[in-house]
């Protein structure tokens, strides 16, 4: 780093895990009397939940510490994210789950879908049947119906109400939030880099359950600082550092080891192509369609998650991102036993290497630290090839 600059978000949580900041904000909302809906996934329709006056809270899923407890019930051969989530619940150590009045889940992957069956008795839980073939006409119809059903569930559970106008307003608000987030990503595209993964992750994590209104002051300030950094000739990371795009499974908490290794190996991460990173902010919902829920269904089905098939959109979106962020290498992070990202990695690797001519590395890992040295060796070798 050429010199120190003011962090994009400068508060008492700066430098610590981003969860603390989100928790504090959520506790405030709770004090104001708002209800909280625990969510696990980017397919939970934030716009609708917010329109009903409910705050979405992303539930804990990223700690190695809760996995041992989970394995007394769940098979060991399961994705660490799912094991950790379940472990947090049975050990009662996720403050977000503690705050949540209800839990919203989706049938994204086998592991999650079946894990949800084990927690439905603990809190009111609503499972949304997520289509798997998003380009089929029935997919939009069915997902629209699922969002409407969720609305019904939230109405009966909380007595909360909204109207199509309310949802439309919320769509505009979230579109605004997403647009500002994309402005941030524009700065991340600069060469040399002026922002690191930690600051981007702080923002993507905070924005996930937040309204546009809540995010606006934070993002305005962040954008101002980014402009200053750019104009002041600031650069992040060592000069000539290879630029890395990280794609694949969500990464946070104990999985951040991969990000840390990339930086320690002299790389700079310029794009977080995952649900924990840029993905939730890349598409907007159509406004003024007269059927806001259908518009939401269309927007959410555009998320290029590997649970979709054939998920060609992941590759086209990736191409767009590669062209914008100009990485020198792409790393695909696959959480152990996540079959869908694992199988898809073959296709992603071919795409990155053949279409973009970029070096590609697939890392299969979990939340433990046991493989840090193996990963380091491979990342160092990758960056040497850049």
């Amino acid at each position: 780093m050429s010199r120190t600059v003011e962090p994009l978000i400068n508060d008492e949580y700066t430098g610590g895990p981003p969860t603390k900041r989100v928790l504090a904000r959520l506790q405030e909302k709770r004090k104001e009397g708002r209800k909280v809906a625990g969510v696990y996934c980017g397919y939970a329709p934030t716009e609708l939940i917010l329109a009903m006056g409910i705050s979405p809270a992303t539930l804990c899923a990223f700690s190695n510490a809760t996995i041992e407890a989970a394995e007394t019930v769940l098979p060991a051969n399961l994705c660490p994210l799912i094991k950790s989530s379940y472990g947090f619940i049975i050990t009662d150590t996720c403050p977000f789950y503690g705050l949540a009045d209800v839990v919203i889940g989706e049938t994204t992957c086998d592991g999650k879908k079946k894990m949800f069956e084990l927690i439905t008795d603990l809190k009111p839980t609503w499972i949304m049947d997520l289509p798997q073939v998003p380009d089929q006409e029935e997919a939009i119809t069915n997902w629209t119906a699922m969002i409407r059903k969720l609305e019904g569930f939230l109405e009966t559970t909380f007595g909360a109400r909204t109207t199509d106008d309310g949802i439309e307003d919320s769509i505009r608000d979230i579109n605004r939030r997403n647009a500002m987030m994309r402005e941030v990503f524009e700065f991340a595209a600069l060469r040399p880099a002026i922002v690191g993964w930690r600051e981007m992750y702080d923002l993507t994590f905070l924005a996930q359950g937040s309204s546009g209104k809540d995010m606006e002051p934070v993002l305005t300030e962040a954008l101002r600082k980014l402009e200053e950094r750019r104009d002041g000739g600031y650069s992040y990371g060592p000069a000539g550092a290879p630029r890395v795009m990280v794609t694949g499974c969500p990464v946070g908490g104990d999985a951040e080891k991969v990000f840390a290794i990339i930086e320690e190996a002299g790389g700079v991460i310029v794009a977080l192509d995952a649900c924990s990173g840029f993905k939730p902010y890349m598409t907007d919902t159509a406004e003024g369609t007269g059927d806001p829920v259908r518009a939401l269904a269309e927007r959410y089905l555009k998320i290029p998650c590997s649970c979709m098939t054939p998920n060609a959109r992941r590759l086209t979106e990736m191409t767009r991102l590669i062209e914008k962020m100009r990485p020198d290498a792409v790393i695909d992070v696959v959480l152990q036993a996540c079959h869908s990202f694992n199988i898809e990695s073959h296709k992603v690797g071919e795409h990155v290497e053949k279409v973009h001519g970029l070096p590609f590395l697939k890392i299969v890992t979990d939340f433990s630290l046991g493989d840090v040295e193996q990963i380091r060796t491979r990342v160092e070798a990758l960056l040497e090839s850049c």
Binding site: N64, E68, E71, T72, A76, S368, L369, G370, D371, E373, Q374
Partner: protein, 256 residues
């Protein structure tokens, strides 16, 4: 009647002979590459009326000596019950298997769990890790207990764990701390099995790994439950087989 029990484990072969409810002879040898020969050597000059085999190599013996066999899970249940009649939870960590067994009120086998198919978290794992750190099997637990803190070992696959140990020592980690980390890894694996089948109660700890004082201490700590190690923990399976031989009077009513 004089009955014998032979437990052919993956690492050691054990023989127990009982008469009038008393153990009159115990013998132990290495399984080696020829378990049958190892068993024969152990039985050399030993007199008994009837014998039952158990352990990993039980079917080999059944073929050659035409004796009944029982699974080592049942053998450990029988042996443990005889040694400690009120015990309801058994943990056996042998050379290549870890077994957790719960008994019902009558002292009969109720549930059991076994480790997955690799040798992770078993006696063989401890042997390899001790060697990787340059300890003998006697020094290993003592060194671990002497450590004030530990290095976390995450991988339970023997191959990966070994490379993890090597990279830790390459980074200059203190050997006793790595040793403690290995012991804790084994313990956490075993207690997960125990918690699945028996959430409470004193644990009867048998098998070769029960000779390792560090594992014993850590299991008690981790579970917050008392752990009892019998005087000769490796002999529990062979004793169980001998007891079964007595009960069945040598009739072929064991598992075919």
């Amino acid at each position: 009647m004089r009955t014998a029990g032979l437990d052919i484990g993956s690492r050691t072969v054990k023989l127990v002979v009982i008469e009038q409810g008393e153990t009159v002879l115990t013998r132990k040898g290495l399984t080696s590459h020829d378990p049958l020969e190892a068993a024969r050597a152990l039985m050399e000059g030993v007199n008994y009326d009837t014998i039952v085999a158990t352990g990993y190599g039980r079917h080999l013996l059944k073929e050659h000596l035409d004796c009944p066999v029982i699974s080592e899970i049942k053998a450990f249940a029988l042996g443990a019950k005889a040694i400690y009649p009120t015990c309801r939870v058994i943990l056996d960590i042998g050379g290549q298997d870890t077994k957790a067994i719960s008994l019902n009120e009558a002292g009969e086998m109720s549930k059991f769990e076994m480790n997955d198919k690799c040798a992770a978290g078993t006696g063989r794992f401890l042997e390899i890790m001790a060697a990787a750190l340059g300890y003998t099997l006697e020094e290993f637990p003592k060194a671990a207990l002497s450590a004030g803190r530990f290095e976390k070992i995450n991988s339970m696959c023997t191959v990966f764990a070994e490379s993890e140990v090597i990279s830790l020592t390459a980074k200059g980690a203190a050997r006793p701390e790595v040793a403690l980390g290995i012991h804790r890894a084994i313990v956490s694996r075993s207690t997960t099995l125990l918690k699945r089948i028996a959430p409470s109660g004193e644990v009867f700890f048998a098998g070769g790994v029960a000779l390792n004082g560090c594992v014993e201490t850590l299991i008690a700590e981790d579970l917050g439950r008392p752990v009892f190690v019998p005087p000769d923990p490796q002999m529990v399976g062979a004793l169980g087989a001998a007891l079964h031989a007595l009960k069945s009077g040598g009739r072929e009513d064991a598992t075919p």
